[in-house]
């Protein structure tokens, strides 16, 4: 899949007089698991759209490896073969009557031969755990399944980098588990995933790196550090992950031990502490 680094450099975007992003920068390193956090309306989706090339920023640029993204037709066509954006509502991206037909759309637009298209479709459905649903009508799928079909449609383009807008929003526990499995498969498969979410607990457990969107700017860093920073979280209208909150309240990480990331590591820390 290649090792593409993607970055936003001092990107500014305004809609109807309101500045959504203001000189925001973000680095997506190949192989990282990056979670973009922020309240609803903070500009997460806007930043993803800028990175995908769908939106041209008023100022600043998007860098793909060493080059600046060109918003010409050719530049965007090339970019979309490396970077794919999947929107929050799957019904905004699914147009075909059944799963396999829908996933074939992207590869067909790449003007691949029919055999190649079919093998891309199979591969994408496999990675997303959708093989048995290939011939099912789109409208009979659950919300979580439709979300994964939308991702499969992007994966069939074989991007190095996948931008997912709120992939876990609206999913129940089973749907979220299936999504998590799919994310792990994508990683094994060599695709770097940047996702946006407002679920701080999920971000802490999953990400190797987080970026918080606040007042039009982006702060990027270590999940434990940023998501433990009460001042930053309050400004960004996010709450603290319960694991960190509890660790703090119980004074777990006094000794400079790494902060816990999930239930397991919290239990381990608490048990150590008691001994």
């Amino acid at each position: 899949m290649g090792h593409l680094s993607l970055a936003a450099r001092a990107v500014t975007v305004s809609y109807g007089g309101r500045t959504v992003l203001c000189a925001a920068s973000l680095d997506v390193r190949p192989g990282s698991r990056l979670a973009l956090l922020g309240a609803n309306g903070s500009g997460k989706t806007t930043l993803l759209r800028v990175l995908s090339g769908a939106l041209r920023p008023d100022a600043g640029q998007v860098r793909v490896g060493p080059d600046a993204l060109r918003h010409s037709r050719a530049g965007l066509t090339a970019h979309r073969q490396q970077v794919q954006l999947v929107l929050q509502d799957p019904d905004d991206q699914l147009f075909a009557a059944d799963v396999a037909r829908d996933v074939s759309f992207g590869p067909l637009n790449l003007r691949l031969a029919e055999d190649e298209v079919r093998s891309r479709v199979d591969e994408a459905l496999e990675v997303l755990g959708l093989r048995e649903l290939a011939e099912r009508p789109t409208h009979q799928l659950s919300f979580g399944q439709r979300k994964r079909v939308a991702i499969a449609g992007a994966v069939a383009m074989r991007p190095c980098l996948l931008l997912l807008d709120e992939p876990t929003a609206g999913l129940d526990a089973t749907g979220a588990d299936e999504m998590l499995t799919a994310l792990h498969r994508l990683e094994e498969w060599g695709t770097t995933v940047l996702l946006s979410t407002h679920d701080v607990d999920f971000a802490l457990a999953w990400a190797t790196e987080v970026a918080v969107v606040e007042a039009g700017r982006v702060l990027q860093g270590d999940p434990g550090a940023l998501l433990g920073d009460t001042g930053l979280l309050a400004r960004a209208r996010l709450r603290r992950p319960w694991v960190l909150e509890l660790a703090d309240r119980l004074d777990v990480s006094r000794g400079g031990a790494p902060s816990p990331r999930d239930l397991e590591s919290l239990v381990a820390a608490l048990t150590d502490f008691r001994v």
Binding site: A54, T77, R80, L87, Q93, A96, A97, L108, N109, Q140
Partner: protein, 251 residues
């Protein structure tokens, strides 16, 4: 909340779904053709019986879905046949009469309508719309038209749940209490629906742009092979009905 239309759901779940569209069109089209063009007895009756046997037999359509689907067209056919049955006179003041001739043509239209309706159901309940549109595309219907038709299908299903929920939400707030509120609520539903349709289209356009959309919506149809035994059996059955109709009908 139902996810779609009973007939469409039946088509997606049909054991004949993976059959080539052409062979199903041959069978259903043949049954319609035979059912509406031959004399009612025994042509339409045999064609209707064959269609019914296929639908309830190998095509495994549930009797309830079938009964509900034929209700509306049957109502039209019955009302229409009754109009044909009654003959109108002007001379000597208006009056009505039922003659041997009107009885025959009423029965004929009743039989043809019923056989035709059941014949169409053979294709409707076994073949998803996507397959039919794919077949039309192969028949050189312009891509632009097929793309629009495919979108209509998808958007109808996306918006169907919206319409149902909007109607229920209005009903909960007593929006269908009397004629006046019903008219107002229906109008709000219509206007809301148009806005939602536009919104969906606009968002879909943006969503597809990232997947390389530039105006056309290609998708790959699944490979289907025509079954010679199916075609042969269909032709034999159609031939048998025709022969029976022509020989028995003469007597």
């Amino acid at each position: 909340m139902s996810t779609g239309f009973a007939l469409d759901d039946a088509a997606w779940a049909s054991p004949w779904r993976r059959r080539a569209v052409g062979e199903k069109v041959l069978l259903a089209g043949g049954l319609v053709g035979v059912g509406i063009s031959l004399p009612v007895w025994p042509g339409s009756v045999l064609a209707a019986a064959a269609a019914l046997a296929i639908l309830l037999g190998p095509a495994q359509v549930s009797p309830r879905v079938l009964a509900r689907s034929v209700a509306a067209p049957l109502a039209f056919i019955v009302v229409g046949s009754l109009s044909v049955l009654v003959s109108l006179r002007w001379d000597g003041g208006p009056g009505v009469a039922v003659t041997e001739e009107t009885r025959r043509s009423a029965l004929s239209v009743l039989g043809h309508g019923t056989a035709g309706t059941l014949g169409v159901l053979v294709i409707a309940a076994t073949t998803p719309m996507a397959d039919l549109l794919g077949a039309l595309r192969r028949l050189r219907v312009p891509d632009a038209c097929i793309d629009v038709a495919g979108l209509v299908y998808r958007l109808v299903l996306v918006l169907l749940a919206t319409v149902v929920q909007m109607g229920e939400a209005q009903a909960a707030r007593l929006g269908y209490r009397d004629r006046r509120t019903t008219l107002r609520s229906s109008a709000a539903l219509g206007a809301g629906l148009l806005v939602r349709s536009w919104d969906r289209a606009r968002r879909l356009e943006e969503g597809l742009a990232g997947r390389g959309y530039t105006g056309s919506l290609p998708s790959l149809d699944p490979p289907r092979r025509t079954s010679l035994p199916f075609v042969a059996t269909s032709l034999v059955a159609l031939g048998a009905i025709t022969t029976a109709a022509l020989t028995m009908g003469g007597s």
